[in-house]
């Protein structure tokens, strides 16, 4: 994956950037996000999708790209939540939506309808792998959040000791 040649079409980048933002904002509207953070939840989803897309374009494989995408969503969500002083869920719920394996899940249904059970099983495995790797990336970002909280606590303690 690293050191590979990647050629970008500026049109592709632009479409992915804008559409992931719009899609996240659209989902945020359906779950009633507070007005003041609606733009930032879009940014969060955009960051996650762009990381996922870039890693996929660099032929990073399904698992690593989803893990890194979910990790990015969690990371951006934590930072934004600290900054805007509101729950992390406001950013992570819409942010993870573009990463949800919608297309493979539909394909599972489609193949089951067509009676292609073996192909459906293969697709189901793909859905499972993607879901697990999203969970993994999200877990890593939770770890980051804990480390951050501990760091802040220690910083405050040190300031108190100085006084």
């Amino acid at each position: 994956m690293l050191g590979m040649q990647v050629s970008f079409n500026i049109w592709d980048v632009l479409i992915n950037l804008v559409f992931s933002y719009i899609a996240t904002v659209g989902f945020a509207l359906t779950v009633n996000i507070p007005h003041r953070v609606i733009h930032w939840s879009g940014i969060c989803g955009c960051a996650g999708w762009m990381i996922y897309w870039l890693v996929t374009e660099a032929s990073g494989g399904r698992m690593i790209s989803n893990t890194l995408g979910a990790f990015a969503v969690g990371l951006v969500a934590v930072v934004l939540a600290k900054w805007k002083k509101c729950p992390v869920t406001l950013f992570s719920v819409p942010g993870l939506v573009p990463l949800v394996p919608g297309a493979p899940t539909y394909m599972v249904v489609r193949r089951l309808i067509d009676g292609k059970y073996i192909a459906a099983q293969q697709m189901m495995m793909r859905v499972a792998i993607v879901t697990v790797s999203i969970a993994l990336g999200f877990l890593l970002s939770t770890l980051f959040q804990e480390a951050w909280n501990k760091y802040i606590k220690r910083l405050k303690l040190r300031e108190k000791l100085k006084k």
Binding site: I15, N16, F19, S20, I22, A23, V25, G26, F27, A28, L29, T30, V31, N32, I33, P34, V37, W49, K85, C86, P87, T89, L90, S92, V93, P94, L96, V97, P98, V100, G102, A103, T105, Y106, V108, V109, R110, L112, I113, I134, A135, F138, L139, T142
Partner: protein, 257 residues
């Protein structure tokens, strides 16, 4: 005011705050944390709270002779993250002593009576643009013929789902019927305009009803050690996905596409 009456008030405030957050779709650890903070900041010595997706328990102990324990079930649920944010904000204000217990009660009652939501038309538009843009992102082909159709069908499915949710108590039925409606509409549109691709349109349109909140919260609950709610929400997400797939499957199977 006697000690017992004061503790009763604190318990009721805690339960109301917890119920609003739970109904809004918060993760368990935040519900428990908020309830505990409200009670501790109200001056109660020993506080025990336990939250599940279907109910809340609070037990307060003043350190001497009286204990108050109450439980409340949560049946009504409406995903609304603004509610979570507001209750969180009130609890912060209460912790900073900017408002007292009476004002907190007043604010919670106010928000309970008129829950802030976006108007339905805006939500439907959100669902429409979500399905249209996600279709392009997922399929990685710039399929501009299906783009508006996917938006239209996603919006109609979301409208159907939210309308049915007000009329039935059976869980997952609304999702299933909305998915059936989306499949039916897609097949009709495909019949009129054969250039449309049924699979592409449905991939995008079904994303409007995807259990994004249930899945994210399930993961967070599991990582925070709230096993009961984590597994329950995992199950909810899986059941919703099955309902969506089943609804679309039935229609495509019988009408053929």
């Amino acid at each position: 005011m006697s000690v017992d009456a004061y503790m009763k008030r604190v318990v009721h405030t805690c339960l109301k705050a917890g119920r609003l957050m739970l109904a809004g779709g918060s993760e368990m650890y935040r519900v428990e944390d908020t309830m505990r903070r409200i009670a501790v900041n109200a001056g109660i010595k020993e506080v025990n709270v336990f939250a599940m997706p279907t109910g809340l328990f609070v037990s307060l102990d003043d350190g001497e002779c009286s204990t108050v324990t109450e439980l409340e079930t949560v049946k009504k649920r409406a995903i609304n993250l603004e509610l979570v944010d507001q209750v969180n904000e009130f609890s912060r204000e209460f912790a900073d002593k900017r408002i007292d217990l009476e004002e907190l009660e007043e604010k919670l009652r106010e928000i309970e009576e008129n829950i802030p939501t976006f108007p339905l038309w805006l939500q439907v538009i959100g669902a429409g643009i979500l399905s249209a843009t996600l279709m392009v992102l997922f399929l990685d082909v710039y399929d501009w013929i299906d783009f508006p159709v996917a938006g239209l069908i996603g919006a109609s499915g979301y409208l159907m789902d939210s309308w049915l949710k007000g009329h039935t108590k059976i869980r997952f039925l609304a999702e299933m019927i909305a998915a059936m409606e989306m499949g039916l509409l897609t097949i009709i549109i495909n019949g009129i305009f054969p250039a449309c691709n049924v699979n592409n349109i449905l991939t995008g349109a079904l994303m409007t009803l995807v259990p994004g909140l249930a899945l994210t919260n399930a993961l967070r609950d599991l990582f925070m050690g709230d096993w009961v709610s984590g597994i329950v929400r995992m199950c909810e997400a899986a059941m919703t996905a099955i309902a969506l797939g089943g609804g679309v499957g039935i229609v495509i199977r019988f009408l053929g596409a």
